[in-house]
Amino acid sequence: MYVKSSKNAFWIVLFLIPLLILFFFYFVYPLGFIFITSTLKWNGVSKPEFVGLQHFISNFQNKTFLLSVKNNFIWLFANGFVQIGLAALVALILARRPRGWKFLRTVYFLPNVISQVAIAMMWAALYNAEYGAINQLLTAIGLDNLTHNWLGEYATALPAIIVQQVFYIGYFMIIILASVMTIPDSLYEAAEIDGANVWQQEWHITIPMIKDILVTAMTLAMAYGLRHFEATFLLTNGGPANRTSVLGILLYKKLSALKYGQASSISTTLVILGLIMIVVIRSTIGRKSSASDLTQ
């Protein structure tokens, strides 16, 4: 039921204005700036030169760019399905309030509180080929042939960074948990009386009730997969041989090289890919869920 009255129009506008002003200055204007500079050859100091879509064309002919797009999609799936799946699993378990659940909820979230720099350092040390804990452990149990230079080999570098990231579920777990906790206990009581076991309860009650928030979390996680930058930057800077490169890394490299036009063309590509992603989510997993209305 929507409340309709012309008196509301005043309030609707008033409630939206602060957001719209900020959004205009901090998103619409910068994106305009980026779209425009993506058609320029510009080093920031000399006169810009209009080149049309040339940056986009050369991007799509560039091996590293294509590799980065591919890696971004791997991140998108890893974040959207694996990370959210794990976050949902843990949220469902914690919602049943096992012993120490409050403590665990806090601990699971803590990695989000520490700086990524410190976490990345630890993982670089774990993965290091010479003095890393993983190789030392493998050697200790006689599996020398399984040791790797984890962040320096084609086959292991990308999986190593992904493993490091997807298990940090804290933030999404909290979002999902907050939603699960709002489901009235009476629903579970009724199911219990009907003889439904835990799995049935989760499947038939919890999952449908949190579907909206799952789609929301998944969309966010996937958007972060496209925007992924920090962990890769800190652990491999895209190496070895660009095998772990993502568009964010490429974008940063172009900025450092004073290639503002190319950098903007990469940003533009990221935004377009994101919009496509939203359309796809809307027409697949988001369909019928009321969250689909987010993106109609």
Binding site: K7, I34, S115, A118, S179, D185, W199, L220, S264, S290
Partner: protein, 284 residues
Amino acid sequence: MSIVRTNGRGTTQVLGNTAKWVVLIFFFTFTFIPLLWLLISSFKTNLELQLKPFAMPEIWQFANYANAMKISGLPRLFLNSIIVSTVSTGLTMIVTSMAGFVFSRERFPFRQGLLNLILAGVLVPIIALMAPYFRLTNSLGIYDSLWALIFTYTAINIPISTFLLYGFMRTLPRELEEAAIMDGTGFVGRYWRIILPLTKPGMVTAGTFVFLFSWNEFIYAMLLTSRPAVRTLQLGIRFFTSQFFTDYTSMFAAIVLTMLPTIVIYIVLHEQIIKGMTSGALKG
């Protein structure tokens, strides 16, 4: 109420219990070890950190903490971080809860288009916005002030916060408002007295995110300020990095010191979630 959601009975329970604890302990290890590692490493020398990253320090280097305390103007940096993070979290919450309310409860022209546009902001790679934000901040006349950071952080977090609050608000049953409208509650009353209290868990979730973002942000903190008087903690922590090497262990000590308040704030905020939920009208 906690007796109600039990863990099933018989073999299912045993199996389920084992699996459950395997999962919980795995994630505990995964998330707790970095903290422990950070703490222990903050007492090492840099060479030890590099060569024996998982051993105990040979001599506990309390000097690292002394170094961390020596960051010039630490109390000021701390205060600035608190001001910037709190104010931008507050502003984001006000701005996006009002908008979220309107988007989720009202129907008006361009509603869907606007909402999509704002949500698309989640997709923008923030690092690409350095040049526009720098220009904007200068032409707003707020360069080198805390406002530069407050506005930037508030704005950057608008899409995600709107996204989350809108998501929470739209799940609230409309019957709640219908009753209130019968009682003559106006527009603002519906927002302030009905929807906002029920959105508390969502606000805490979104607020935590904004706060942590603002607390940990580095690139714009450096780009948009220059006087030490308006800088934040993240810049202080970076005092241990220099052109050719980084004193990681002292930096870790600084991270540990500055992390404590965030953890406290986090725990306090999350008590609020629980309170928000138990006092919420939704409990069945």
